[in-house]
């Protein structure tokens, strides 16, 4: 642009993180807003795209890394977290993001969340929770409400949904928040805070499916009923109260930070660096790796 505005005295604009690849999501999908909020958060964080590794699983939402200019890795169903952790351990200087749907995070890959939590590995995990399997055309998901009728539960589901917030709080996570595609500025702020948090940050995002969602105008409905935790006077240092509030998942739509540990454990990646520094002081020659095996 010849008559472009002078650049602002800041390094990054949201569009710096937008790739040329156009989303294939259905028009009206909540994920568009999540993506937009993420661009905002990344601009605010100010790390260049090439220092960001963005990992996802499989599902509609897991297409998201390709729509950013970061190094992306669209992996296999349910395994984004282990892969993201491998990246972070291999190169702790990277900003590592991880995203996926509720099926990815709480069904097929549910076993990985607890372990990322207990390592307090410094990455941000965004679950785009739409209570449905969209990519495979509308089957029951782990967060689908009891009784939901879908193509695989045509007479209504017989089970309670997972409560992602309560699960992750129960695992002992140090940062647990919820946002919604109905409040993009709020979501951008939450994502930014999650990225800045030194350790594992879990962000559940209510990101409705317009094609298979129960109500086609869920975002409007969410906008009407969402309540910010801040407005409720919730102290995010209060873990027990956070759990109490999280129990309302599926009934109330609370947004903001449920819990932020004021004194989190050191991160796994930091401890790895320290151990490498301590043990690596002698810097042995790999060519002599067998010397210690000589029987003298």
């Amino acid at each position: 642009m010849s008559n472009a505005l002078p650049v602002v005295d800041k390094k990054f604009e949201p569009k710096d993180f937008k790739s040329d690849l156009k989303p294939i999501w259905c028009p009206g999908c909540g994920d568009f807003g999540v993506l937009q909020s993420l661009y905002r958060a990344l601009a605010a964080i100010g790390r260049p795209a090439h220092e960001i590794a963005f990992v996802s699983g499989i599902g509609c939402s897991s297409r998201i890394p390709g729509y950013t200019t970061a190094y992306g890795f669209n992996t296999v169903h349910g395994r984004a977290l282990p892969i993201a952790q491998g990246i972070k351990i291999a190169n702790p200087s990277l900003l590592v993001l991880c995203a996926g749907g509720d099926g990815d995070g709480f069904s097929i890959g549910g076993g990985h969340v607890a372990h990322a939590v207990r390592r307090n590995i410094d990455l941000t995990y965004i679950v785009m929770d739409n209570q449905i399997y969209g990519l495979t055309k509308g089957q029951l998901s782990p967060t689908s409400p009891r009784g939901l009728k879908t193509v695989t539960s045509s007479l209504g589901s017989l089970e309670d949904p997972v409560n992602p917030l309560l699960y992750v709080l129960g695992y002992g996570a140090s940062f647990v928040a919820q946002g919604t595609a109905a409040d993009l500025p709020g979501l951008a702020a939450i994502i930014e805070e999650g990225i800045r948090f030194p350790g594992f940050a879990f962000i559940n995002v209510q990101s409705p499916c317009v094609t298979y969602g129960e109500d086609e105008w869920q975002i409007k409905e969410q906008r009407a009923r969402m309540k910010s935790l801040e407005s409720l006077g919730h102290d995010p240092k209060d873990q027990l109260h956070a759990m109490d509030l999280a129990r309302a998942y599926g009934k109330e739509l609370y947004t903001g930070v449920f819990y932020r540990n004021p004194a989190p454990s050191p991160t796994y990646d930091q401890l790895v660096l320290e151990r490498q520094k301590e043990k690596g002081a002698s810097a042995p020659d790999p060519a002599r790796v067998l010397d210690s095996l000589i029987q003298r």
Partner: protein, 174 residues
């Protein structure tokens, strides 16, 4: 959902106000581009061409404002940024739908213009600088013009049923 972040309307300078106005147009233009692409991707050509039309409009407004800014302030550094605004004139993402009719597309655009108008109306009382006040009043009134423009387009449309995806194929599993 129209939101701003970190804008001090009381002390907004004319340069900042112009820059902000440009950013508002840019945001709207980009969103209409996104919508155009969404509609093209999802076989909704009428809405696509309307959103493309809206994008061109927003670009035109943006260019005019940008020219004024450059004329008045040259390349003096900018101190406002995109992160300060959110969805001022850009249609909300959940307005878009596959197979939406031209009428629905226009209605979505009209809602955005109304939203933008409301933004300038709400901002005006706080503004102290008379030049900025004048600019915002001008922009507010322009939104009215834009609304009229969209309404005129709406009027041109034959009365149609919004059939949505009634005759479309089922979505495809991946």
């Amino acid at each position: 959902m129209t939101t701003t972040r970190g804008i001090d309307f009381a002390h907004l300078s004319l340069k900042d106000a112009l820059d902000l106005a440009v950013l508002v147009e840019e945001e709207a233009q980009e969103r209409y581009d996104e919508f155009t692409h969404q509609m093209k991707t999802h076989d909704t050509p009428e809405a696509a061409s309307f959103f493309a039309f809206m994008s061109r409009n927003e670009k035109k407004h943006g260019d005019e404002l940008r020219a004024r800014r450059l004329e008045l302030f040259g390349d003096a550094p900018r101190s406002v940024e995109r992160a300060m605004i959110f969805d001022i004139e850009a249609p909300d993402y959940d307005q878009a739908r596959a197979f939406m009719s031209a009428r629905q597309a226009l209605t979505a655009a009209l809602a955005s213009e109304t939203k933008a108008h409301a933004f300038f109306v709400a901002a005006l009382p706080a503004i102290q600088d008379p030049k900025v006040k004048a600019l915002f009043a001008e922009l507010r009134d322009e939104e009215i013009e834009h609304q009229k423009l969209v309404q005129a387009e709406l009027a041109k449309l034959p009365p149609s049923e919004d059939l949505g995806d009634a005759f479309a194929d089922e979505p495809v599993a991946h």
